[in-house]
Amino acid sequence: MVYQGSNGVMQAELVALMRDVASRDETAFKRLYDRASAKLFAVVRRIAVSEAAAEEALQEAWVRIWNHADRFDPAMASPITWMTTIARHAAIDAVRKGSERVSKTTVVIDEELAEKLPAPGSTADGLTGPQLRRCLEGLEPDRRGMVLLAYSYGYSREELSRRFDKPVATVKTILRRSLIALKECLGGR
């Protein structure tokens, strides 16, 4: 049900660190930071409009992780997945605060993004990546593009509406249908 990293030992260590962070252990927090910051920074950097904005968003993300670590539930998500959600939201908040994004027109084409997911059958990165790729490829190109731009680049419904020249309400409907289709394709997991 929950995405598992390839290394179960590392996973267990991160869960233990999260627990210590929830009890306000700064040493554990630093270790968690050392483990996960490069990954979260890369995620945030894709969404933020500039290096400086990305740094600010990453700082905000870590403050939120510190403040809300007690809400982390290993039964619901892996630590990396939980922290990724927080970091992406922090980056999205930063982007939507300003209107700077208008200038960011040269986003990597959505098609290329899907190409980068491990091909079905390749076992390099567990099972989840290839399955997701297969299911994304099963969506119509516009739908796939919307999902990818939203997740990877933090596009809002309004931004998607402009880019795909569809009303905002339609974008919402398309996103929800695409998500349901993805879930079904992934076997309802």
Binding site: M1, V2, Y3, R24, E26, F29, Y33, S37, A38, K39, F41, A42, V43, R45, R46, E55, L58, Q59, V63, W66, N67, D73, M76, A77, I80, T81, W82, T84, T85, R88, H89, D93, R96, K97, L113, L117, P118, D125, T128, L132, R133, V147, L148, A150, Y151, S152, G154, Y155, S156, R157, L160, V171, K172, L175, R176, L179, I180, L182, K183, R189
Partner: protein, 228 residues
């Protein structure tokens, strides 16, 4: 079935990041007391994680850790901080009487204009205004979920300053509820809130009061009013 799809869609969009801030806050409030929604969110976060993994890794700048550490220490590392702020409150009590009636009227409007999806039963609302009487923040408190939603309707703080939210009981110590610089904030309530008590906003150095005391002026204040 339809309800299932609705919840899945909401959880999926929450993870995708396409909800606007009030919608996202509403999801978080609801998730706090809805394990099925929490599970749906966890499911979506896991399902889509391979897309985040594609970003690879990029080392953040060296100085960032120090900034994070100083911020979490400044904001307070043990949950709510307790301090006395009575002097300021006494001074402001006179001013707040003037627009108390206006606040009550506004609170009714706020309470009836709640946001979809399914709004939690907020127990209190408060409209926080300054000396001119203009509302600057609207707060709604859900004591079941233990959350307070704060929406700024006035000016943003100056770039080098932060707003900080305080709970001001009728008697006894005042409690920091954290920095409130965003247009919309969802805070956890770690203290009991009662009608007649006040919420106040003080102007602090960026990142919040560094001392555990309110160091700047209380710029906005409002009474907690029953929402229903």
């Amino acid at each position: 079935m339809a309800d299932d799809d609705e919840m899945e869609g909401l959880a999926g969009e929450y993870v995708l990041g396409t909800l606007d801030r009030p919608e996202r806050d509403a999801v978080e409030t609801r998730a706090a007391s809805d394990p099925a929604l929490r599970a749906a969110i966890g499911g979506w976060a896991g399902r889509l994680q391979p897309l985040a993994d594609l970003a690879g890794e990029q080392a953040p700048p060296d100085g960032l850790w120090a900034s994070i550490l100083s911020q979490i220490r400044a904001v307070g590392s043990g949950g709510a901080r307790v301090l006395l702020l009575e002097r300021t409150v006494r001074r402001l009590r006179i001013a707040t009487g003037i627009f108390g009636a206006a606040a009550a009227v506004l609170a009714v409007v706020v309470a009836s204009d709640r946001l979809v999806p399914p709004p939690p039963a907020a127990n209190y609302v408060a409209v926080l205004g300054g000396e001119g009487g203009k509302p600057a923040f609207v707060a709604s408190v859900d004591t079941n979920a233990g959350t307070i939603r704060l929406r700024r309707v006035g000016d943003a703080p100056p770039p080098d300053k932060s707003y900080e939210l305080w709970q001001v009981p009728a008697e006894g110590p005042t409690v920091s509820m954290g920095v409130a610089d965003n247009l919309s904030d969802l805070k956890s309530v770690n203290v009991s809130l009662k009608p007649g008590e006040k919420l106040a906003i003080s102007l602090e150095p960026k990142g919040g009061s560094p001392t555990g005391q309110a160091t700047g002026p209380v710029v906005y204040i409002g009474d907690l009013l029953p929402a229903e």
